[in-house]
Every structure is written in C-alpha cells, then in structure tokens.
Amino acid sequence: MRLKIRNLFLGFLASCFMLTGMSAQASMIGTESLVAQQSRQADLATIDRFMASDQVRAQLETWGVESELAAERVARLSDAELQQLAMNIQAQPAGGDAIAVIGLVFLVLLVLELLGVTNVFTAI
C-alpha cells in the first residue's frame, strides 16, 4: 500500500515535470510533432523520454510484465505513445475479451443485449 502511494506520488511528480516541460528541449521539430493531432495537445518537444519511459515501465511491471521485457517494450513506443501512456495509462483501454460479467452488470447487459444495443454475449 505504502509502495503504491509512493509510486502514485512519483508518477504525479513525473507528469508535473513533463507537463511543465522542464526537460531538455530541442528547437528542431520532429515529424511526430509535425503531424500530431491537434486534439491530443501534443507538445512533444516537452516530453522527457527518460522519465516517461521509467513511469510506463514501472506500471507495466506492476501489472505483471517481467522487468527486462517491460523495459524492452517501452523502448519501442514512440514519443507520442509514451506521452499518452505516461499521462493516463490507467484509463487506456486494454482489449482482452468479454467473459466474466456478474450480478447487476450482467442483468443490465442482458437487457441491453436483448435490445440489440450491445453484443457482449455473441462475440466472446
């Protein structure tokens, strides 16, 4: 628990630094920044790759990805991807499948399923 809070705090700190752009910045603008969608608010010049990598790697490890593998995987992420994950990896969708649904959720889903709004049960 204490470790978790510490991690959260460090993560928060890291994102603060990233967002305020205290990292070393290049005055040349790369292609990722050039074509980043406006909506993503990507000011990639301000991303600190080192700090963001560390943060994302730590989270992957917490989620059970083996340490070395996590570092290798993070190294494959682009600046934009890394920035996005560093900011809100918790909220990112993780496509798995649709098997375990219980209780009330099940009932609601069943009704919606019958209404044809969703298709949880036909597409596992």
């Binding site: 752009g21 910045q25 290049a26 005055s27 040349m28 603008i29 790369g30 292609t31 990722e32 920044s33 050039l34 074509v35 980043a36 969608q37 406006q38 608010q41 990507a42 000011d43 010049a45 301000t46 992957l60 917490t62 989620w63 059970g64 990805v65 593998l69 995987r73 190294a75 494959r76 992420l77 682009s78 600046d79 934009a80 991807e81 890394l82 996005q84 994950l85 990896i89 990112q92 969708p93 993780a94 496509g95 798995g96 499948d97 649709a98 098997i99 649904v101 959720v105 609601v108 889903l109 919606l112 209404l115 044809g116 709004v117 969703t118 298709n119 949880v120 036909t122 597409a123 596992i124």
Partner: protein, 330 residues
Amino acid sequence: MIPVRDPRGRRARTLHRFWLLLSAGFALSGCASRPLTQIDPPAASVELVDTPFFAQTEHHCGPAALATVLAAQGLDATPEALAPWVYVPGREGSLQAEMLAAARRFDRVPVRLGSDPQALIGALEQGYPVLVLQNLGLRRWPRWHYAVVIGYDPRERAFILRSGTTRREVLAERRFVASWERADRWAVVLAEPDAIPTATTVQDWLAGAAPFESLGRLAVAEQAYRAAITRWPQSALPWQAISNVDHALGRTAAAERALRRAVELDDQAVVARNNLANLLLARGCVEAAQRQVDTLRQVPPRFATALEQTREKIRLAAASGAADLAADCG
C-alpha cells in the same frame, strides 16, 4: 424500413415498434451514442477469405488479432510469439500503443483509418484486413475487444470478422458500428512502408510512419516519406518529414533543400520555417534564419516552445555579432 419477406413480417414489425419505443426510452435516459454514419453500400460484397485465423485464448484477443493482420501479409507471426510484446497480465488485455509498436517490429506502418465505416470498406476493397477495437459492453462498463474486419456484405448489411474464437463472425452493421463507436472508432491497417493505402490522408500516413523516425529506424521512415512525396506531391508535409531524416543522417544540404521545397508549397509551414532557421543558423546564416521566423504570421501553441527557442538562439547569435558570411544564405 422493415422489408416484408416472410409471414413473420407482421410480428417482426410489432416487435420492432416495441424495441423502438424501448430504445427511445433509453435514448432519453442518456444511453444513446451519437448517430451512426450511414454506409453507402458497395455494389458487391467483399470478403478477404484468405485471411488466416488464430483462435484467441483467454484475454489474448490482442495477440490473436495482431497475428491475423500480420500473417495476412505473409509475415511469420503467431499469437504465442506476439503475446510477450503486447499482453499485459494485470490488465488482462493489450494496450493500443503496444499493438502499434509490435506491428512496427515487422517494418509495417500502422495506419489509423478515418472514423467513417466507409473507410473500413475502402480498405477491405484494397485487400487490407482491418484491425479494430470494439467495446462490447457499455461506455461505463467497457469490455474491450480486438478483432479483425475481413469483409462486408451489402445485402445483409453486415460486417464479417475474425473475432475471438469465431473464425467467421457475421455482425449486423448497426451492432458492429455501435461497438466500434464505443471504442472511439479505432481502426488500423498495416501497410508496407512504400505502399500507401488508398483510404488514408497524408497526415495519417505520416503519423503512422513518424515513430520510425523518432525511434531511429530511419531507413523505414525514409521509405514511407518518399512514398508520401510521390503520392501527395502538392503537400508540404512529406518534404518536412524527409528533411528530418536527412538531418538525422547528417545530410544537411539535402535537408535544407527539402525544407525550401516545403515553404514553396506552403508559405506558412511553421515547422519548415522553424527547422530551416535552425539549419541556416548552424551554418552561420543569422540574418537568413531571422527572416525565416519573421515570415510566420501565426504559431500554433504546440510549436510555440520550439519556436521561442529558435528565436532565442538567433538572438544570442546576433548579439555575439555574427552576420551572414556565407554567400549562399538565401
């Protein structure tokens, strides 16, 4: 709207009215998503029947779907081999960013398609199976699922997918689009770096290719950028992109030429002017660099930091008394 094809038609109509009423109730209670785009159905159905199939194991639809689109291009990919790169045990699933990153390991450019279902059909007609993210649950209780769209049947108004443990899933257009809509219409095709799919924009193509540049895989990036120059000769974007590769490889003269071409095509290309100013400054052309940044009337906020730094560098150089010594500063 309901075609009367069989004796059950009347019952179906009554049922349909009942569902409509109920759905209206849900719409009022805020369950409705934004209206779906109408598909202009193609004349003939399209189905990429040769697309391989990998049945997913529990929670492993990510590796399975990714293996499907890779193997469809003849690449040696299996869900088992991909899982260590994309599967996150603690989330019982795979993240979109890592799916794209894994595709790049195979030198494939992951291109995000537009949010129109028509774009999916366009890609299918060109032979690309489409990797999609669906939300099979609700916005509030999401059930994220990766699948591969391999066909569309205009008569049934249904999409055909390789999905989960189902080799050929036929999903009514309305249902599919709704589930796709709840996953923010995420759809990706994997292209070879020198073969740009028809249904894409210069922006989306470059966005798919740019990570190769950021990650230092310059040969792949260059291939993709050169293809973009051929495909969109009037766009300033690919020239700016290629200049970044030239610059990274130390081909500064080529980088400068590409940027000059970019500003010819788009006088207000902010990145081009900014980068050109930096290159000019690096070879002692302070005044010429100043002229480049002065040409810009407006700078979007996301480039403001970089541009401010460029201006600062120019100020410092000017303050130290440097003047344009080179004859060809331009």
